[in-house]
């Protein structure tokens, strides 16, 4: 998906969240409503207007020590309010690579 | 912003005079390249050293005729990632044999001190107090250098040859 690192104007098309990577280990994290970060997408604060998104992003970016590379990402809200990633990129960030990591044993082929 | 010179924080004898402002009656002054080139003789006629702030997107050629009389040349790092002043510094020191104060200004951070020294800077307007205080320690990070610059340090290639010669000479 077009790299959100190239986002210039902030304009959201639907429910969105702010996501980043944790500074000390690079893990994927989501900005919560309580001005913190969680590794669980379910904890992410949802914004629905461009102003809200801008504010949430600004507050996230200000936490330079805890997180790096913060940006706004789309989500889908499923039944019962469950938050799902809004595009392939965010799916991959949450669930991992789509290709299967190699088994550590010698010679085992990678599962597609 | 602390000035580091001679390896430690020192007072800055130069007063930076912005374009349009009056020059002080005497004392060392640092002026923009535009102002300097308007009338270099008038500036040199004052008592007090003359320093020029040279932009990093301009060849140093126009400055060369005045180098012998200048008390300081300040080069600029608009961000630490913009490395044009390193080339300017080396040209001034190594090609044009400038011997006066060569000052690094702009976003001058700890992790570029060694590069700057090697390029020929000897004065630093350091952005952060903590970095200025750590100057002496920081410049000792590296004891080995691969490539020659004007800093006179022996490069790795030549050090090896030196070792080989002394080995074969039985030293």
């Amino acid at each position: 998906m077009t790299s959100p690192l190239e986002q210039k104007k902030i304009k959201i098309a639907g429910p969105s969240i702010v996501t980043a990577n944790r500074t000390w280990d690079g893990a994927v994290i989501y900005r919560t409503a309580g001005q913190g970060w969680s590794a669980d997408l379910a904890d992410a604060a949802i914004v629905r207007t461009s102003d809200e998104a801008r504010a949430l992003l600004a507050e996230s970016v200000a936490d330079d020590l805890g997180a790096i590379g913060a940006y706004i990402a789309p989500v889908e809200i499923g039944d019962g309010g469950k938050i799902e990633p809004g595009n392939l990129r965010e799916q991959i960030r949450r669930s991992g690579v789509t290709i299967g990591l190699p088994a550590n044993a010698i010679g085992l082929p990678v599962q597609a | 912003m602390p000035l580091v010179k001679g390896g430690k924080i020192t007072d800055d004898i130069f007063v930076h005079v912005v374009d349009g402002a009056e020059l002080p009656a005497d004392g060392a002054v640092l002026v923009s390249a535009a102002r300097f080139l308007e009338n270099p003789e008038a500036l040199f006629a004052r008592s007090g050293k003359v320093g020029v702030i040279w932009p990093n997107n301009r060849d140093v050629d126009d400055l060369v005729p005045h180098l012998e009389r200048l008390g300081a040349v300040a080069l600029v790092f608009p961000t630490f990632r913009d490395g044009r002043a390193y080339s300017q510094a080396r040209l001034l020191r190594e090609r044009y044999l400038y011997r006066g104060e060569l000052r690094a200004t702009g976003q001058v951070l700890r992790d570029q001190f060694v590069f700057m020294l090697r390029a020929g800077f000897d004065a630093f307007e350091v952005k952060k107090q903590a970095d200025a205080e750590a100057f002496a320690q920081t410049v000792q990070r590296y004891s080995v250098f691969y490539q020659p610059t004007g800093d006179g340090r022996l490069t790795a290639l030549h050090r090896r040859m030196q070792l080989r010669h002394s080995e074969s000479a039985g030293l």
């Binding site: 190699p102 | 044009r84 390193y86 090697r118 490539q147 790795a156 040859m161």
Partner: protein
Amino acid sequence: MYAYDEIDRTLVNERVAEFRDQVKRRLSGELTEDEFKMLRLQNGVYLQLHAYMFRVAIPYGTLSSKQLRRLAHVARRYDRGYGHFTTRQNIQFNWIKLAELPDALADLAEVGIHAMQTSGNNTRNVTSDQWAGVAPGEIEDPRIWSEILRQYTTLHPEFSFLPRKFKFAITASAHDRAAIKVHDIGLRLLKNEAGETGFEVLVGGGLGRTPFIGKTIKPFVHGRDLLSYVEAIMRVYNQYGRRDNIYKARIKILVHELGVEKFAAEVEEEWQQMRDGALKLDEEVVEDIRSRFYYPTYEKLPHMPDELRKAAQDPKFEAWRTNSVFPHKAQGYAIVTISLKPVGGPPGDATADQMDALADLADKYSFGEIRVGHEQNLALPHVARRDLPELWKALDKIGLATPNVNLISDIIACPGLDYCSLANARSIPIAQELTRRFANHDTANLIGRLHINISGCINACGHHHVGHIGILGVEKNGEEVYQITIGGRADEKAELGTLIGPAVKFDEVADVIEDVVEAYLALRARPDELFVDTVKRLGVEPFRERVYATR
């Protein structure tokens, strides 16, 4: 194999200490990300989708078995048990933690491995021919000069903050395995009439958003002038390269905007003022570097030993031998390419276990030396032909004997959207599916030499522009779609590929490639006319017609 001495080790250790301090100041908040980012990049540390990525330098693609084992250790201890070999002869680890990086670097420093300048706006790995030192007909080992350049460019105070990244490549063979024509500076080693070593210097090659083939700015630079001439080029670039727009900041843009004659003149003017300075290399200095390269003492061995004659009965061994074994300059020896492109696997990956096992095989059969190629395969450069059968059995056991080198399933691919935060689309699943479609080795051999290159975004880390078939992933309305080009080449006849038609969806790519291959098989003049030559002869139109007829 270049042997580090006290001086080289000291530099690497001082670098590790510096980075440890920088990480500490980052994690304490003393350095902001804005101040730290370029510092971590200068040590090969990227931020990717899931985690940091750590790119370790393998200078000119040469490794000792000890070093390969240490890479395996890093994969196990700090990562998830595997590494990825890149199109610039480096290795990448995808799951590294910033806080543990200084320790990983310290572990690597012990065996003379570093990650200096594998990223950032500085001079990157000086890449070369993975067969350097052993290829028949090579003029001289280009790695001597790669090492001279490596040292010269490492922590160069003037050129550590360039407008953009800067890449060198050197070749010393008629067939260019180092792709010098698509590098910022490409060097072709040759001898003048007096038999002295020098270089044809090409500048401004590169791929990405605006691909260019490099242009010769000086047909012969004497070896002793190499460093001063390079310094002149870099000084012109450092001062005049664009800094206002990262998409126009490479030297190729400067060469294009000035014109090659004017650019060459600027370099010449600068060079004339410094050519006799401290960078002039004397014979003694070059010999010193040369003397620290280790070359094996080859035995006098027969070209057709008994072991090989016997093993020829085994069709599986023969399939591998005829595919993966290449002539060596010393009689009785061979260069063995190790395919890292198993059917269904991500191209260019090796597990820690495979690395350890390969290190042992290198000790046993290749004087302890391994090579990394830019096509993301490895090589054992000094194998006695009598050892080939035993070596093959061992490689086969660890999944490193797929006989598809240079064939259609020997795919070069960037990590793509599965890993990389710059990507627009995935590349690895495309590669995997293609290896499955063309898993039959008879079919692959029938098709013949065919390089597929896949990039997941316009940055072209998969070198798709110069693939015989190039595949570029882009995004359209939230979907992954792929542009297909044909007719590119990366060697001495370097050329950019041509688009064959509109982009196709993820699920259709493999079908389209099958159609392209079918078209080739129907159109080729003879069975031994290579795909890329058929495209050259006929142009893109016949392929376009057939592939898009039903689409």
